[in-house]
Symmetry: C2
Subunit: 351 residues, 2 copies
């Protein structure tokens, strides 16, 4: 029900996704009448791998956490996250209010031992043709050094699991490379990360700057959720600006239009590589369950990518792999506490 | 002497600038032997509008403020800023250590009444084909609400003076449009800005997000220097990434290369509009003197833009115009204190 467009985007995305992925089963959570009407309109009400679970309430974008948590206990968000807890779904995808999604996820699912706060991690493209993993992208607008430290460990575990890298590099986003640069939180975080580096539990590269994200200087870029969210949205905005400049200039004269026609393969490839929808879908790392956040403004194509990431994460048993890594990296946590996702349910369902 | 490349960039930029601008006179401040050698190499040692003022020390990028302020009293930065104070130069341009430049500027020049901290303001392009003014871009990594409030007033005054807009719009950079979004500093700043809006002294639009910078939603975007610096560098990095994607794709096949050849006017226009060097040169707003900061990594073309902005600002008597605006907007400051730049010296010199 969430995001800027609600079921008008999530339903077509869900239909396309199950059609493209024969193993996927999606549980659509929200107001039954609205969801069924949307499914009927698209002739998918009888789809064998799409089911609806009713939830009366909707968490709005401007709801306080108090409202989302206490007053809307039957929200689509809450019901969907409950499905994970109950073992009826392997992962949850939402385009709704980020703060509410995190608060409800933490309340219902709890965090992995050793993790104070979940963080949103997503990928951005880089010049080395690989992904740069960046976190936090908006779950935590105020962070202490120990939170950024945990983000670094979680990001490192995620990249190890997803990219098969033994010692992925971690960069700390700052206003300069030098140690003396930055605010107090970042400086204190660097001390914690350097200590881990010396122990060999983390491959800390040092401070990185904004341009290092797209250079691909490090596998992981760590920052607080305020900086991360602004950075992500700025990048999306610049991507759209570039697209508008390309369109304007290639349409300016008949000669430019001819060139664009001849090089249309190049323009198509450029458009695809720069399309922010391809990078949609951040994982809420640090929870005892797989929760994915889509950009609120995502279109159906972008929302499909968020579902794709949730599906792949569940399929690859990401949760237990991350939990194990975190348990190894964090001395205070016990590996006996590590939750596994697959033991509860062998079918592949995403709420 | 500053920046990543020192005189190898600043000297050719200075030579090109005085050649393109017959009214400009530049004082090159730094180690005389180094500067003269660089000038001689480029056959400009005898240029009538280029002079050298010796300064023995160089503020390094990793110098502490203590070192820059107390131990290097004969640094090129300090000597150049002294030239403004003494009325021998109208503006100063530096590509050096931002923190040191701000500290020395504040110490030597002092701030305008009503301003606690100078901020770096620069422009970014937007989809409305106009400039988006953004501040702070790195002078203040930790800000309180009153600082962001002052940045909003200074930015508003700057845009009024430079763009001739009576009531430029101010956006507060945040992780969402809604009032409840953001950290405490941003929320408290919004309260101050709304109060000004109600008084009619500021045209506060409300919260804006990262993508609004390039949409051109508001004339001015206000944020702290950590967020601003990361955002700026991320944008520059993404710009370079886009350029590399364009180059790769248009060279991938002979057909793409042919299209690029035919549409070369479009590609040239795109390259120009997206070149970050064109937007180089931030002004340190809030000082009793005109100080401009170039990106440390700027090339000679980019450094010329920083000199251009300093020259235009001095030529347009920006200092007294901003000071007057600030005095009008800030009840606690007295307009009798407003410094003017042009009364000291009628020649146009930039240090």
């Amino acid at each position: 029900m969430g995001g800027d467009h609600g079921p008008a985007v999530t339903i077509p995305a869900a239909i396309s996704f199950v059609e493209s992925e024969p193993e996927a089963e999606l549980i659509l959570v929200g107001q039954e009448a609205v969801l069924l009407a949307e499914l009927k309109k698209r002739k998918a009400a009888e789809h064998p791998r799409l089911s609806v679970v009713h939830a009366a309430d909707i968490v709005e974008m401007d709801d306080t956490l108090e409202t989302a948590l206490r007053r809307k206990r039957d929200s689509s968000m809450r019901v969907a996250i409950n499905l994970i807890k109950e073992g009826q779904a392997h992962a949850c995808v939402s385009a709704g209010n980020t703060g509410a999604l995190m608060a409800i996820s933490r309340y219902v699912l709890k965090t992995i031992p050793g993790v104070d706060r979940p963080a949103i991690c997503s990928i951005l493209p880089n010049q080395k043709d690989g992904p740069t993993y960046m976190l936090d992208l908006g779950a935590n607008v105020d962070c202490e050094p120990q939170h950024l430290h945990q983000f670094a460990l979680m990001g490192s575990a995620l990249v190890s699991a997803m990219e098969g890298k033994d010692r992925p590099t971690v960069g700390l986003l700052n206003v300069g490379e030098e140690d003396i640069k930055g605010n107090d939180v970042v400086k204190q975080t660097a001390v914690l990360l350097r200590a881990d580096h010396e122990k060999g539990t983390l491959n800390f590269y040092g401070n990185v700057e904004g341009d290092d994200i797209f250079k691909g200087t490090t596998d992981i870029v760590v920052c607080d959720g305020f900086v991360g969210n602004v950075t992500l949205k700025t990048s999306e905005g610049l991507g759209r600006f570039v697209k508008s400049v390309l369109t304007t200039e290639f349409k300016r004269t008949p000669l430019n239009m001819l060139g664009a026609l001849i090089a249309r393969a190049a323009l198509k490839a450029i458009s695809q590589r720069l399309n922010p929808s391809r990078y949609n879908g951040g994982s809420l790392l640090g929870l005892r369950g797989l929760v994915f956040k889509s950009h609120g403004g995502a279109d159906a194509y972008g929302y499909q990518w968020a579902i794709r990431r949730a599906f792949d994460a569940a399929n690859n048993d990401l949760l237990s792999r991350i939990s194990t890594k975190i348990a190894d990296l964090m001395p205070q946590s016990s590996s006996a506490d590590v939750p596994t996702n697959t033991e509860k349910n062998t079918e592949q369902k995403t709420a």
